[in-house]
């Protein structure tokens, strides 16, 4: 392993973070965007390189400042982490490449540096959460990414974004605080913040009340940040009123990173040490997952605002991931992590398509896109592809994760058929809401629209994501191996 490669886990965070203050100093239309895009692409390249290294064998550990693990801060990149890193950096890059004109239309030139600096901080924070193997470090990065994403969500001219951001901020802070309280309790009992160390030391104090309280605080706090039903109330408005490009970025990765921490904390620290924790974990999360799938899909079916429709669809899709995880089996966890990847492709593609549509249409309601498909055949063709992936039609990425999830459900001794029926029914609900978009765009009366044009870069980014949906639907080997390895890692800590 070359010297540079061994530093990549740190560079993954440091590169976008150091670029942020630099972007702040840049003046001139387009320059901050260019710098941010370059940093994001660099981060994406690092993530790809890490993927190559990790698929080659062992996980990468990195000691910050060469301080050894329990004392210093450890960064750790394994199969689970690279999967999420690919999603985070990929979503950021695609959204930035395609989003320049879309953002320029709502940002004044002097605010551009602040906006793109915040974007890079959000990216650095999210990547930092993923690579950290240290509970407190995760909290720090969580705060960085959260504060930056409040700025991003409120960055547009839509004043309804402000109350949405406020709600997001209050609930996000509650979630982060709960997490911090839990980490504090554990630190009090074990004297360590490093996951690997914690896993060992917690054995002596397991099942004492502070640890149980900590597990509760951490699970609920992260569930709030991951928008697990019924703690999803902040999500629809935040996604709806944020600038379209920001929605594409955050919808693809923000909640998944919290979910990632929840899984990592739970499987690395709690599962094998707390009595009957696996059962509690399943019994607590599976009903929520099922309700989330049904309620999210049902609301999406009747929603007329496209972004809100897709936001509620996200609530349902997070339910799929939780459902897979709550099975606590290798196949179930594979399905859960795989769906993080595949859902990011589908939802990221859909929100990028919405960003493109919004450049031409008057708004984002179903009525506004009436008959637009004839004016924007390429955009809507990509939207249909991503929509098929969201439904889970064979040949698209969404099918692979749903198929894995169905297999996981069938492995259950009881109730598996009911879960399969649930998955099929909710897929049909997805057919309904995706069809409503298709119906309006392809079969509606053409509405009066502005004369806007979709920039080529956005079409390219959109089609890049749409094609990725098909590629990973027909050749899913990479995400499948990574998620299977991730499931192995998680279960390895349980045994």
């Amino acid at each position: 392993m070359s010297a540079l490669t061994s530093h990549l886990p740190a560079l993954q965070v440091v590169a976008p973070m150091l670029m942020a203050p630099f972007v702040l100093l840049l003046r001139g239309r387009g320059l901050p965007w260019a710098a941010a895009t370059a940093a994001s692409l660099l981060a994406f390249a690092i993530a790809i390189r890490l993927t190559v290294v990790v698929t080659g064998g062992e996980a990468l550990a990195y000691e910050m400042g060469s301080w050894p693990a329990p004392y210093g801060i450890e960064l750790r990149v394994d199969a689970l982490a690279v999967l999420v890193l690919l999603v985070v950096t990929g979503a950021s890059s695609a959204a930035l490449i395609g989003g320049r004109e879309s953002m320029a239309s709502i940002l004044s030139a002097e605010r551009e540096p602040y906006f793109y600096a915040a974007w890079l901080l959000a990216l650095a924070g999210l990547a930092g959460i993923v690579v950290s193997a240290d509970a407190f470090n995760i909290f720090v990065f969580m705060e960085i990414s959260s504060l930056a994403s409040y700025v991003l969500v409120a960055g547009g001219p839509d004043r309804r974004a402000l109350p949405a951001t406020f709600k997001y901020l209050i609930l996000g802070t509650i979630g982060a605080t709960f997490y911090l309280i839990g980490v504090g309790l554990i630190y009090m009992m074990t004297g360590t913040l490093n996951f690997a160390d914690m896993e060992l030391r917690i054995q002596d104090v397991a099942d004492q009340r502070p640890i149980l309280a900590a597990a509760g605080f951490i699970t609920v706090g992260l569930a709030l940040k991951a928008a697990i039903f019924p703690l999803h109330v902040w999500l629809p408005n935040a996604y709806t009123y944020a600038p379209h490009v920001v929605t594409a970025f955050l919808a693809a990765c923000a909640t998944k990173v919290s979910l990632y921490v929840l899984l990592r904390f739970d499987f690395f620290v709690f599962q094998q040490n707390l009595t009957a924790h696996a059962f509690q974990f399943s019994a607590f999360l599976m009903p929520l997952a099922i309700l989330g799938i049904l309620v999210g899909s049902a609301v999406a079916m009747f929603e007329r605002n496209l972004k809100r429709m897709l936001a509620f669809s996200s609530v349902a899709q997070i339910g799929y991931m939780m459902l897979g995880a709550s099975l606590v089996t290798a196949t179930g966890l594979t399905a859960a992590t795989l769906h993080m990847f595949n859902h990011a492709l589908a939802k990221g593609g859909l929100f990028l398509a919405i960003a493109a549509v919004a450049m031409v249409a008057a708004g984002c309601r179903l009525g506004d896109i009436s008959g637009l498909a004839r004016r924007m055949p390429w955009t809507f063709a990509a939207l249909v592809l991503a929509g098929l992936s969201l439904i889970g039609v064979p040949g698209t990425a969404g099918f692979i994760s749903k198929w894995t999830l169905i297999n996981a459900a069938l492995e259950l001794e009881t109730g598996g058929i009911a879960l399969v029926a649930l998955i099929l029914v909710s897929s049909l609900m997805a057919v309904v809401y995706v069809w409503r978009i298709v119906e309006a765009a392809y079969f509606g009366q053409p509405a009066e629209t502005g004369s806007g044009r979709v920039p080529a870069a956005l079409v390219i980014a959109l089609w890049g994501v749409a094609i990725a949906n098909v590629v990973f639907g027909l050749a899913p080997e990479l995400p499948l191996t990574l998620s299977a390895a991730a499931a192995d890692i998680m279960l390895g800590h349980v045994r």
């Binding site: 004839r374 249909v384 439904i391 039609v393 064979p394 040949g395 692979i400 198929w403 894995t404 169905i406 069938l410 399969v420 099929l424 897929s427 049909l428 057919v431 069809w435 298709v438 119906e439 392809y442 079969f443 009366q445 639907g473 027909l474 050749a475 899913p476 499948l480």
Partner: protein, 490 residues
Amino acid sequence: MTAQDAIVAALVLPLVGALGIALAGRVSANLRETVTLVTAGSLAFTVWQLVPVVMEGGRPGVTLAEVLPGIRIAFDVEPLGMLFAALASGLWIVNSVYSIGYMRGNDEANQTRFYVMFAVSLAATMGIAFAGNLFTLFLCYEALTLATYPLVAHKGDEKTVRSARVYLGLLLATSIGLFLPAIIWTYGVAGTGDFTPGGILADKLEGPAVGLLLALFVFGIGKAAVMPVHRWLPAAMVAPTPVSALLHAVAVVKAGVFTVTKVIVYVFGVDHLFGSVGSEWLLYAASFTIIAASVVALRQQNLKRLLAYSTVAQLSYVVMAAAILKPLAEIGAAIHIVAHAFGKITLFFAAGAIYTAAHKTELWQLRGIGRRMPITMTAFTIGAVSMIGVPPTAGFVSKWYIIAGAFEADNYVAAMTIIASTALNAAYFLPIVYMAWFEREPASPPQSHGEAPWPAVLALAVTAFLTLAFFFFNGPVLELERQIVEGIGQ
């Protein structure tokens, strides 16, 4: 070229052709049509190369990818698929010649898009014909739906778009809502979806579940147009006539009944289905569709809609024949796919020729038109006679086998349905023939048209000839299809 290469080439050629057509369309219309014809010709050449291999009992196959363990993208050629592919690729040549006459004669817009999507549709059709398992079949099935949508919505006016919506909505909803769960169920129960002689569900699925799974398949495969999921087919008639002719008389609808037959023969297994209770309903559903669609056809005033309902009825012949579950009837089902294709494409060609030359679409306008368009109406008459099933036409051969199969199974419902529908077919086709030849043309408005442009006339003459020729030369097809029933009913 080995058989494996030929399979891949058959899938890739139309796509390459589509690209070539798109590029050539920017240069000149003549070049574009040349590329179309060359692509069609080389596709037919490639596909027909496989015929002798399959005739000799070979089953060439190629696996392109293994998506998930047990789920492969694989293509395997067996007699039924060979027949379908040979038919569709052969008729594409004729249809392309016809398209040139029709599209130019009617001065249609967006002709390049038309030819491009046509080629893409043919690629999907080849995929359906050669698909080696349910997963691959489903992919190609959906691709065909999506690729034909722009063809159906070609005109782009409000009425067309409304019909296209029914087309797309019904086909997508049934395939995702019913067909896909059926496929997932099959993979779950059998652990595979490969088309295997004798079926894969024997011993694995018993009792009423068989009937339920069959229902998911039959109604999920909306392209087979078994009532009540037939409404997309009349809706699709808003498309230009070459589309109706090749896609909605041959490729798309035959993809539907072909898939149903294939599911019955290679997934359920004929013997397994014959021994299961709760699967007889399919025969009655198909019989009902035959009679009901024929009655509806009687009442149609628009020529293309009449042909559409006639197609709905004729498709259910294939489904019913397959559902009789006897060797002779399975052969009849396969032959009827060919026989109906020759007859119905001729009828559609004639309808399109009449529209191009005289701009007539309604039945009452056809009085005396036989004297102005003798070749077209002769072809039309041959097609109509074949639909009724009178010798010496193709329709007689397949009906003969289906009736023989019905008697072999002592199934008088099927036999009576065929007899009744023959009477109904005669009742709605013969008045048109009579009107065209023996009634007088109205004096006003004055008529001055002759035949349609020569490529159109040539095409419909060829298919009319094929309809007649199939009565005399059907040996190879019979021989090919005998192979699928080997080992059934013993």
